[in-house]
């Protein structure tokens, strides 16, 4: 597979009073055209920081310490880690579209939604006002806003939560991106609306061959939309596999425990994971999940654990896979 977005050995550090602290450790991910990579993990696992690093929107306290983020386009390969900020601005909202959890933070309450979509188009594609507006209306229509030519004149507060998220998706798609980063895009929505947005994102991906990086804490949503899944824990990818394999035959003890923590029909108790996620200033030297793992043994401690090949497309960061599975 020729990945459109390829993250290699990404390390993100946060500055603290005691020096830099690594919060994303050697994360490698790849998403191909028309493919959805689901990134799942609990809060603090590093999944959002990884996406922010791709956009180089880490702010002043965090920085990319090492690694490469390759974006393949028709005109060659860009390494986003070293790209000058001026060109990075063209990438954000241009070749990489983004959709976040809360649509109201992405929209300006003072402008009509049509103006906001048109502005993105003008900024990135250099169209004139009339053409940009026409394209904005087309996009709003495409994402399922009824009577788009009329509603384009309305301001965000006239729209429901689901419709606002559609507007944000229209903005993200406005410049024909090759990659769409969606960070918990349905988490703030009602479940019937979530279903509509998931359907829409799936359609758009299939139509335009977008590479979709979809971040969620919801295993049901991940099961619905992903082709492949990467599970993150304490700043590391601990398992990655095609979606059916991950759910049917998870190998890493954390993935297995996480899947047991969600309700399933017929059961009246949820499994729990003992202990808590380690803090980044006190990470175990070896496997970061070992203190909470029922399969932990002496081999798990002492030295960092690498991603081990389970099958051609299935990797897990565990040295006791044989024991875990039996």
């Amino acid at each position: 597979m020729n990945a459109v977005l390829e993250i290699n050995d990404l390390v993100v550090e946060v500055a603290t009073a005691h020096g830099p602290m690594v919060v994303v450790s050697n994360v490698s991910l790849a998403v191909g055209a028309g493919e959805t990579l689901g990134l799942v993990g609990e809060s603090g696992s590093g999944k959002s920081l990884t996406t922010l690093a791709v956009l180089r929107l880490l702010g002043t306290s965090a920085r990319i310490a090492s690694g490469e983020i390759l974006l393949r386009g028709p005109d060659g390969v860009l390494d986003l880690v070293t790209l000058p900020e001026r060109r990075m601005r063209d990438v954000r909202g241009g070749r990489i579209g983004m959709v976040f959890q809360e649509p109201m933070t992405a929209l300006d309450p003072a402008y009509s939604v049509g103006e906001q979509v048109a502005e993105t188009v003008r900024r990135h594609l250099g169209l004139g006002r009339t053409d940009a507006w026409k394209r904005a209306v087309e996009l709003l229509d495409r994402v399922g806003i009824p009577s788009a030519d009329r509603r384009a004149h309305d301001h965000p507060h006239h729209f429901s939560g689901g419709m606002r998220q559609r507007v944000v998706i229209a903005m993200a798609l406005s410049c024909d991106p090759v990659v769409l980063l969606a960070d918990e895009p349905t988490t703030a929505l009602d479940v019937t609306v979530q279903e509509q947005i998931l359907t829409l994102l799936g359609e758009l991906r299939d139509e335009s061959g977008l590479a979709l990086l979809f971040i969620s804490h919801d295993l049901g949503v991940i099961a619905d939309i992903s082709d492949r899944v990467a599970v993150m824990y304490a700043g590391q990818v601990v398992e990655t596999a095609p979606v059916h394999e991950l759910f049917a035959a998870p190998r890493h003890p954390y993935t297995r425990a996480l899947l047991r923590c969600v309700p399933s029909p017929g059961s009246d108790r949820l499994a729990t994971i003992p202990g808590t996620v380690p803090t980044f200033d006190a990470l175990p030297l070896g496997c970061r999940f070992a203190p909470r793992c029922e399969h932990a043994a002496a081999v798990c401690e002492g030295a960092p654990i690498g991603l081990d090949t389970v099958a051609a497309t299935h990797f897990a960061r565990c040295v006791r896979i044989e024991e875990v599975v039996s």
Binding site: E42, S43, S160, G161, G162, M163, D190, V191, T192, V193, Q194, E195, Q196, L198, H217, D218, L219, G220, V221, I222, A223, D224, S226, V243, H244, F247, A248, A257, L258, L259, C261, V262, P263, S264, P265, S267, D268, R269, L270, A271, T272, I273, T276
Partner: protein, 325 residues
């Protein structure tokens, strides 16, 4: 034995600007037995939280009756009302805003006890430790402040506070919604254990249908202020009788890609309308695949099906006969 009896409760709020009213809760009736859990599900704006606040006597309904253990909650005033409220505390969604950051855990969990006493009688020093033990926390946490605790620990403190006056009923308003999957599982297990050991009843309000199924004996589905379906949990989930319940259940993604991708799902049209403009007739009709003329004009009455299972739909017979797809 019936602990909580709610009959025909309604509440409207004046809207900002305009002369409209928000009809937040309309004609809500249900019963909850001692030691049981009633799950209340629905999307945002369905009136779940308002219902809880009405039941607990935190806001006054425009109409209806609420009885706790045979006592009229709405007629109670002053000390009597405060005493009743201590028997039915609430746990909120966000443990970051529901705990006072300047208080120690000891002060937080024993406050309800202090409020219920005369000024000259101190709370026994051991009470905080007892309450913390109930929620699985070491006594040493009594000296800590909320900012020193994780989200899950804070929610345990909020639960300990709710248990301080040996309540009959605890209202849990999205009490685990802000927590991570693994933390949530621990809190849910704790709530289940506490119900077994203390016999406390729960009003479990949540948008998470899978979770409600797990913890509830009975379930009530709300849509735009009304209970559109209620009944024993397994009956409602196995054979939902209201088109909205069916849509809601089938919209929840299942964490199994094989099942999730092979489900036939009735399409749900659009979104929940504003409570400022509740549609005429059945409030669900603009989104309902089965809507006919009668649905547009007449609000359907609640029809009893069997074994306490009831639904408010003109086409209940049609749905229950054809079975669930």
């Amino acid at each position: 034995m019936t602990l909580l009896d709610v009959e025909g409760v309604a509440k409207s709020f004046p809207a900002r600007r305009r002369k409209a009213v928000v009809r937040a809760v309309r004609d809500v009736s249900f019963r909850l037995d001692r030691g049981q859990t009633l799950g209340v599900v629905g999307e945002s704006g369905s009136g779940k939280s308002t219902t809880a606040r009405l039941v607990l006597g935190l806001i006054r309904p425009d109409a209806g009756r609420v009885h706790l253990d045979g006592m009229d909650v709405l007629a109670a005033r002053g000390d009597r009302l405060h005493a009743l409220r201590r028997r039915m505390p609430m746990v909120f969604q966000d443990p970051y805003s529901s705990l006072d950051p300047t208080w120690t855990v000891r002060d937080i969990v024993t406050e309800p006890v202090r409020l219920g006493r005369r000024r000259d009688r101190a709370v026994p020093a051991t009470r905080a430790a007892e309450l913390l033990e109930l929620v699985g926390m070491a006594p040493a946490f009594a000296q800590r402040y909320p900012h020193e605790l994780s989200g899950g620990q804070r929610q345990r403190v909020a639960i300990a506070r709710a248990l301080a006056c040996d309540p009959d009923l605890v209202a849990l308003d999205e009490a685990v919604a802000a927590l991570d999957v693994s933390t949530r599982a621990g809190i849910i297990g704790l709530l289940q254990d506490l119900q077994t050991s203390l016999g406390v009843a729960y009003l479990f309000i949540s948008h998470d249908l899978a979770l409600v199924r797990l913890v509830s004996h009975e379930v009530a589905v709300m849509y735009l202020g009304r209970i559109v379906e209620r009944g024993p949990t397994e009956r409602v989930y196995a054979a939902p009788a209201h088109p909205y319940t069916r849509a809601l259940i089938s919209a929840v993604p299942v964490p199994d890609p094989v099942v999730q991708r092979n489900r036939t799902r009735p399409p749900v049209l659009g979104e929940v309308p504003s409570a400022l403009a509740v549609p005429s007739g059945c409030a669900f009709h603009p989104r309902c695949p089965l809507a006919t003329d009668i649905c547009r004009t007449i609000d359907p009455p609640v029809v009893d099906l069997d074994d306490g299972h009831a639904a408010a739909c003109h086409h209940v017979a049609l749905i229950t006969k054809e079975g669930v797809s």
